[in-house]
Every structure is written in C-alpha cells, then in structure tokens.
Point group: C2
Chain length 330, copies 2
C-alpha cells in the first residue's frame, strides 16, 4: 500500500472573504466569477476598499486535499507559504485536518508575503477572486520530494500553478517521480483564463501524462478552442483515460472508455460558491482511491460541492461521510 | 454635537475560531465558558492541538464599536495591535465597518505579536476563550488622545483591559478627559474572573466615575461578593445611575432611579455565543445616544445579541436596523 492516496500540488493561499454587490465589482474593475491575478499594490488598494472580512485557509488544491483528509484519506500537500502569520494559519489548518504538509516556508526576509486571495461574494453566491500570489509563485523543483511522489497513488495538479517561473519544471519533476512507480496523474484546469495563458503547456501535459482531467464547461471549451461543450468533452476523451467535466447546477459528465454518463447536481441554496470545484475533486479522488465506481465518485463530488457552497469558506464544515451515507453512497 | 457618540477602549484581538467537544476542553485543561489568559508558549501549544480554524476580528469593546458603526453610529476605538498581518486585519475590519481607529501600532520589532484569542466553540454553542494578549497588553496613557475623549458623548471601557501594567492609568486619563466636557462613562465588567483580579479598582471606578454599568449575572455577583443576583443589582443601583444586568436566555434587568424593568431575551438557536454581550452593549449604547428609552435600548441589545449568536464570529452579519424595525423598535 502506498503511503498516500493523493498528493496535491498548488498555490497555498489564505482567503480573505468579504461580501459586496455587483455595483462594487464594476466600480472596482473586478471581473465577476473568475480568478484574476493582482500584485501587492493592487491587493493593498483593493483590501482598503472592501468591507469587513473573514480569513479562512484556501488554495484550490489545498481545499481538495483538506477535503480528502476530512474523509480520512491518506494525503499530502505541496505549496509554498512564508514564515509569517498567514503562513502559520495555512499550515495549521491543513495539518489540523490531517494532511501531511512539509513544504519549506519562505524565510522571514523574503520580499513577498504568504499569498492571499480577496474573495468577493455577491448576493447571488457567486465569488470573484483577486489573487496576490506572493511567495507561492516561487514553488520550484527543489520543493518537490521525489520519494513522496513515488509514494502517491494519485498526484493532483492545480492548473493555477502553471503561473510562476519554475512551476512547469516542478510539475514535470513530480510527474516523473510518480508515474514510474505506478502512480497516476490528475489535473484540474482551474480557470478559463489560466487555460488561455498556458494552453500549449496544458495540452502537452494532458496528452502525454494525465490520467484524469477535471474541468468545468468554460475551461474545457477554452482548452479545445470550441464553443461546443460536448465536442470539447469528446476531444478530451480521446486524449485522457477519464474526463470529468462539471457544469455547475447542470451536473457533471464523466467520460471513460468512449462512454459518458451524466450525473445531476445536488440542489442547494448557494451562499458562497468558493471551493465547489475543489471539494468536488477531493470527494471524487477519495472515492476513486477507495475503489468506488466513477459514477458514485461523481455523486460524492456533487454532495461535497453542495456542502461547501452552503456556507462561507472553501473548507468543508459538515461530516461528509455522514452526508454520503444519507445519499446512499456509503 | 460631539464628534463621537461612543469611543471604546479595549483589548484589540483577532479571534481564532474553532470547534471542539467538551472532552477536548477537559483534556486540554480549558475551563468552559470563560476567558482565560494564556502566554505565547501556551498559545502555540494549544493552537497545535485544535482543528482547522477561521480568523475573524474580535476584541470585546471592538465588537461593540463595530456594532455601533454598523448601525451608522459615530464611533471610534482605542486598542493596540502590532504592525503585522493580524494587526492589519484587525485595523482593516474596524475601519471598513466605519469606525475611526488611529491607535499607534506597536513596531515590527516589538517582542510580542498582535493579540489573538483561541475561541473554542462546543456543540452547545458555548465559547471558551484562550487569550494571548500580546502587544495589546501594553496600551498606555500616551495612547489616549484627550481631545478625542473630550469629543465623546460616551466612553465605553472594557473590563478585560484592567489587565496590563499601564491600563488603569490609561483609563483614568480617558475618564478625566471625557467627563469635564460633559461626556459620560460606561463600562462592562467583561468576566467574573477579571472582576476577581481587579475588584477594588472596579469598585472604586464604578463609585466615582461610572454612569452606566454593563454586567452579566456572574460578574455583578462577583463584584459585590454575593450569591444573590437581585441584591447585587440593588447594590450596583445605589452606586451607578444606570445598571444593565444581563442573564443570558433569561433576559436583561435595567435599573435606573430606583426602579427596575425586566426585558426578556429574543429566543434564538445558539451557534456561537461569542460576542453576545459585546453586541448587546453596542446596540444599547447606540439606542441610548440616539435618544431611545432605556427599555427600548435593552430590547435593541437583545435583538443584536440574538443576531450575533446565530452564526460563527462576534461581528454582526445581518442588517441590525432592519431587524430592529422588524421587532417594532425603529
């Protein structure tokens, strides 16, 4: 048995969660519903304009791994924070959830701080993310422990992490340490604009190395440059063993071996959409590594997503296994 | 018209909110339902043992002032943080709510950090607080601006702030700058053990300077060394113009000019009791400075308390004025 069911690699972030209306987004020049990268000056300026906030550990792949840890899965996370107060908060929350986390912190004298994401939640529950990457942009190959990757049944790569000078090399090191030992590679595209920025790198990695692709409607259509969601899924299905394409309240499509099943979403009142995709992936990967059929994994993912969007913050609060049992999945 | 309806002075804290059961409290040596002071070593040790957390600005008087700002009241806060990430969070949240906040930050090289309170919420909604005061203990007379205090209709003193080497002198400076200009003094006893530690200082200040006393059942009985709640209220009523004694779900007693009225609590499902007393005081003081009768102020306080205990965190989330209107108070 390998030490880890899943090892995730991504941007280590603390979320700064605040509420505002659409007029504020327009006035502040924030594009609704997506992730936009901002620098420290913009982070300071924007923070000075938003209302009172709550700080909750986030980061897309970190949310996924926290979900797997919550489910009792054996998992670890790789992502860089600084040796500062926000870095300590991030590390605490992940370890306290039960995930291994040993990435070296950037030292106190590093020019940048721990990354943070100013998440503005509008009354419709949609979130608009403004990300100051900080030190997490500087994850490099030396942060990847090949022994850890060799001990992973699955590695889970966060698409956002394609931004940053040494990230592609870090991903390559992780893949090359994992696959020869029988491990498999999963990736999430993260964001349509991130796909735009790195389409060729995504396409190459997906063709060559990826066994399981997570993407939502906008991301997979961006990847294959098509306005046709079904065509994009079909294109992905020709390149990857398992394709999991989410479509918000319209549910999920799972493609494997030429066949495709549709799994409806779990109806929920959306309070804060942050983390829906992350927790979907966490529950899906956990189910898969526990030996459940793909359709059950997708249903677990939908239940987990519905939990995390029912409250503020992208980390799970309710007992997911109990929810799975209530839905007849365990 | 004075610049401020209320200026609050207290311990500036960021709350670290986490959930645990009673067995954890017992095992970790935490006394349930009260505030206990801890040093940095204990803070680090305890933090390493608790589960994932959320960080939300807190501090008793700061919660009160944030509530007044939320209501549109003219208000300011005095309390010390450090120039670090948690200090920036605290300052942001208070200013973003609309309160003036200009206390000098302790410099980056100060030996202590911004204060934090590890708040452990048990399934019954009760909170057990573990406070590392950090730099907020070092509020001193030079942090009190006499011109600001002269511009306050009310000052609001947090009992917790009686801990710390220069705090009594700082309070005296605030009182002496406020009262000669027609301002009035309110105080909250904060905690029965805090009363134990500083009973003589509390008693002297209450007799000599306090116009409005906030206390809960345990605190006022500790202050007057009696097991009889009614006797304690009567004793306070002989020394202070207005006595407001809260008794959790049993409501509030307001004593003034020899008469006493009882105002029932607003029934609520308790999620997290943190901040109930703070928001009660905020709504009460706001109502008073807006010219409402004492009984209406108490009912406003009860509505505000019921809002803050219905969710995690000690800052108000719903629209309090709308709630007051729904209860026929505005």
């Amino acid at each position: 048995m390998k030490t880890y069911q899943v090892v995730g690699i991504g941007n280590a972030m603390v979320d700064v969660l605040t509420r505002a209306d659409d007029a504020f987004l327009a006035e502040a020049g924030i594009e609704k519903g997506i992730m936009q990268l901002i620098d420290m000056d913009r982070a300071v300026e924007l923070y000075s304009r938003v209302g009172p906030a709550e700080e909750i550990s986030g980061g897309s792949a970190a949310n996924t791994i926290a979900g797997i840890a919550h489910l009792g899965g054996r998992c670890a996370y790789v992502g860089k924070v600084k040796d500062d107060q926000l870095g300590a908060i991030f590390a605490h929350d992940l370890r306290a959830q039960g995930a291994d986390y040993a990435t070296a912190m950037a030292p106190k004298d590093h020019a940048h701080e721990t990354g943070r994401c100013i998440v503005i939640v509008t009354p419709d529950g949609e979130r608009s993310m403004n990300t100051y990457l900080g030190v997490t942009e500087f994850l490099e190959p030396s942060d990847i422990d090949p022994h850890q990757m060799a001990q992973a049944e699955w590695i889970f790569l966060e698409g956002y992490r394609f931004d940053g000078p040494d990230s592609h090399a870090a991903f390559a090191k992780a893949i090359n340490a994992c696959k020869p030992h029988g491990g498999k590679v999963s990736i999430t595209l993260s964001d349509p604009f991130c796909v735009e920025r790195h389409r060729d790198a995504f396409r190459l990695m997906i063709r060559e190395d990826v066994d399981l692709l997570f993407a939502n409607r906008a991301e997979i259509m961006s990847l294959y440059r098509t306005e046709d969601f079904a065509a994009a899924r079909a294109a992905a299905g020709r390149e990857v063993e398992v394709v999991v394409a989410t479509d918000s309240e319209n549910g999920v499509y799972v493609m494997n071996g030429g066949g495709e099943v549709h799994v409806p979403a779990v109806p929920t009142h959306v309070v804060d959409a942050t983390g829906a995709g992350d927790l979907f992936a966490g529950a899906f990967l956990w189910g898969l590594s526990e030996g459940h059929p793909l359709e059950i994994c997708a249903r677990m993912g939908n239940v987990a997503a519905s939990e995390v969007i029912s409250h503020i913050g992208a980390r799970v609060q309710a007992d997911l296994k109990a929810l799975f049992a209530r839905h007849g999945l365990l």
